[in-house]
Amino acid sequence: MSMDEPAEQLRLRALARAGDANAFGELFDSCAKAVYNHAFRLIGDWSAAEDLMAQTFLEAWRSRERIAADGGSLRPWLLGIATNLARGHRRASRRQVAALLRLGPPPDIPDFSDDVTGRLDDANRIAVLQRSLSRLRPDELEVLALCAWSDLSYPEAAEALGVPVGTVRSRLSRARAKLLKATERERQRNSRELTTKIDQLVDRTANADPSCKEA
């Protein structure tokens, strides 16, 4: 993974900042998939995630002068842009979905050769998990998505969101408290497997958050 080489990262940063097209091509090749998946996790629609991915790189190009000269991979920066763009999508789609809810979803027509079964399974799992996740504020979920799914460090997540590291920590901490409550709720709903998973998540979140360990 050349993306992890510090010298390589500095080179890419400098080139991208200077508006080098090939550098953006390289960036696209190494990060498009990560951005695509991150976008999906935030908005839950593969087709929209693809659009959002494309928008992210265009936005990155337009704001290339904001790339800091120093730093590691540009992936956190790209995920941050995607996160910002996703906020609009989430909002829109919530309203839209509520309004169109009763219409039922469109049939799940694979538009490319794809494992439909796997897709539905994914959808089901998300549907179950989101019930507990729905208690989180968007900014808490973003932190969770960046740290847990996209594997960013706290400083990287802070960079992506443009907030202090302490804010990342406190959001994660709040998220944990809410998930704890969600566990109770799910227990009442008698969903054994999910309860266990949420328990695990709460544990993991606590462990992942150094400030909580001290407490």
Partner: protein, 375 residues
């Protein structure tokens, strides 16, 4: 610590990382390169945040999506259209940046938002109790005048997030819906003569962030009905105390979310729009809406038929440029329709507008079947 993250990620690997569809990586890469290479050499990247104003965009990516905002308001519009075929006022503010401030204080405010909604509640409570069965369809017919094809609001087979085309000249369209009352039936929408059938069953799970639009099989999700998939019996079982009802609705929308107000409103709109409620439930719903802060009164608005009514303006919380207006009859206080305005972010600040008027509501036994009209 990274170990913990790895575990977190494993547990939350929903779903596993996926590659872009075949060919799409190259396509998007090419689009990006074209965009970059076609940019006039003198152009500067934006310095002030995600600048949407500074891109010359010689070749816009095909994925131009007009923002959530447009969608959200317009989708809600369809809901309201469906509900009561409301109309929205003829004059959507031509200045997207400065939302028409319906000054409640101007012109002898003989009424307040609360009073109007309370009158609407009383009207609803006095209405006939019409029961709709789970195997029936709620029928609605409305005139809709919009500056985009209303058919764009119907979800496509591939995505719920169908982008709206850029605004053009307002045109009137007749929209008819046969809205299934159970999750195992199809819903039919007709815009003028064009029909779209939406498949049964799988349904959408709405809880807000982060996976708002996930379509998945939710069969068995709420066998007895839920606020999002209500049967008539379920609706009858709801509290008629507005505060309790709102609490119940808010429990179904993300707690502490900045969007919670909009979430609750969306649920209320959805209920009003897509089913027939017991009179007491409908009344409680209007009173519950009155408990949601931030609405203003518009003394006079007209619907798509030119009927004059009282408007309740609901500015979107976050994007103040967007506005929904519910319109009520000045005399009967029945819900007439809706007016919607949504601004597309971007250089043009294009504005999607929609005005509707309900022509008829009823119950049909099958999609496309002749409805029995109700008042």
């Amino acid at each position: 610590m990274s170990d913990d993250r790895a575990q977190l990620r494993e547990w939350y690997s929903v779903p596993a990382d996926r590659d872009l569809p075949p060919g799409r990586h190259l396509l998007h890469r090419e689009n990006l390169m074209n965009q970059i290479l076609n940019e006039p050499s003198g152009s500067q990247p934006g310095n002030s945040g995600p600048s949407r104003d500074s891109h010359p965009s010689p070749r816009r990516p095909s994925s131009r999506r007009p923002s959530a905002r447009g969608l959200l308001a317009t989708a809600a519009a369809v809901a309201l259209v469906a509900e009561a075929g409301v109309t929205v006022g003829e004059k959507l503010s031509p200045h997207p940046g400065s939302p028409a401030k319906p000054t409640a204080s101007s012109a002898a405010p003989a009424t307040t938002v609360t009073a109007v909604l309370d009158a609407a509640a009383r009207a609803a409570a006095a209405g006939p109790a019409v029961k709709i069965g789970p195997n029936q369809d709620f029928y609605v017919k409305a005139k809709v005048t919009a500056n985009f094809p209303v058919s764009a609001l119907v979800p496509s087979p591939h995505s719920l997030l169908t982008p709206l085309p850029p605004p053009s000249k307002p045109a009137s369209q007749v929209v008819q819906g046969w809205i299934a009352q159970s999750q195992v039936k199809e819903t039919l929408w007709k815009v003028d003569r064009h029909s779209t059938i939406l498949g049964p069953g799988t349904g959408i799970f709405v809880t807000g962030a982060p996976f708002v639009t996930m379509g998945g099989n939710i069969a068995g999700h709420a066998p007895g009905g839920s606020i999002l998939y209500p049967t008539y019996a379920y609706l009858q079982s709801l509290p008629t105390n507005p505060r309790q009802l709102l609490d119940l609705i808010e429990k179904q929308t993300p707690a502490d979310s900045p969007d919670q107000r909009d979430g609750a409103l969306a649920v209320i709109e959805q209920l009003l729009a897509t089913t027939i409620m017991p009179p007491q439930t409908a009344a409680a719903l209007y009173r519950a809406a009155a408990l949601i802060p931030g609405m203003t009164l518009i003394p006079d608005v007209t619907d798509a038929l030119g009927r004059h009514g009282i408007g309740i303006s609901i500015h979107q919380d976050v994007y103040k440029t967007d506005e929904d207006v519910w319109i009520f009859s000045k005399t009967t206080h029945q819900f007439l329709g809706v007016r919607e305005r949504a601004v597309v972010p971007g250089p043009g600040k294009e504005t999607h507008t929609l005005v509707s008027a309900v022509l008829a509501r009823g119950i049909a036994d099958s999609p496309g079947g002749t409805p029995t009209l109700i008042k």
